[in-house]
Symmetry: C2
Subunit: 140 residues, 2 copies
DNA sequence: ATAAGACTGAGAACCGTTGTCAACTTGGTC
DNA sequence: GACCAAGTTGACAACGGTTCTCAGTCTTAT
């Protein structure tokens, strides 16, 4: 039976207040900074649980680490993420959904799953980039 | 200046003979099995070099590890990979390419990059799966 | 209040990957 | 061919994110 604990609440609520995708470690740091410390192992466990319950989305950053985000919609969707500041836009991929199953079918594959993520520079970071390409960090 | 060594040749040639995506460690094992041993660090270095030279494709498996494959075409493309046996089909994604830049533009994002991979069960593995869903391994 | 068992957290373990550095090639030069 | 500068190798250590362990703690049903 699932129990309600201070730790789970802290993880869940804090995650809800962060609009960008964050790694388990970043969230752990944030919790600590807020004086709401939770063990790192618990942060990992809780995020996994939230993810497999479909309450949060998981994304694998280019360096391989996992990042989590509480998205507005629970239905399947994709993300457009700013590489410099992390700003994230939720995208529904009707076009890609159709494309994916079409491609799968045409090759006789079944049980198709797809990974589709978009990365770029958001409007603000694009402006900075145009002004001086060197200063635009590639944070994620 | 880049030099030609026994090790680089072994890695490059062996990779060319393996039709599936393989991890650095799998390739290292294969080389050892073929009596053509190459140090693990060298396998990693060589694969990185081949990848950044655009000679091989890199894919991140669901467990996070990197896998490499010498694809037939050097132009940008995507993959449809069998989760059970690794069979891989190269896909060109004209539809997704267009979709990705359209979505990026419509949100004012620039320098869009995309990650698009399809996973499923190939025709043979689909047949096994239909016969007995329990026996179909989920190797990758 | 009590007890069963779910949960926590410090630290160890894990595992893919990268760094280190002395010894070993390779390839151009004489 | 001999020589040398510098690219390359590989055993091993180190790294970083994630998972495991397990004794102690807390939640919840009764
Ligand atoms: Zn989302
Ligand atoms: Zn989708
Ligand atoms: Zn390819
Ligand atoms: Zn593409």
């Amino acid at each position: 039976m699932q129990r309600m604990t201070r730790q789970r609440l802290a993880v869940s609520e804090t995650l809800a207040e962060i609009p960008e995708f964050v790694s388990a470690q970043q969230l752990h740091d944030e919790l600590t900074a807020r004086g709401d410390a939770v063990g790192l192992a618990t942060v990992y466990r809780t995020l996994q649980a939230l993810a497999s319950a479909g309450e949060v989305d998981v994304l694998r950053l280019s360096d391989g680490e996992l990042a989590y985000r509480r998205c507005a919609r629970r239905e399947h969707h994709h993300h457009l993420v700013c590489r410099a500041c992390g700003t994230t836009v939720e995208i529904d991929g009707l076009t890609v959904e159709a494309w994916a199953s079409l491609v799968g079918d045409s090759h006789g594959f079944t049980r198709i799953e797809h990974t589709v993520e978009l990365f770029g520079l958001c409007p603000e970071c694009s402006a900075e980039d145009a002004a001086d390409p060197e200063t635009v960090g590639e944070a994620r």
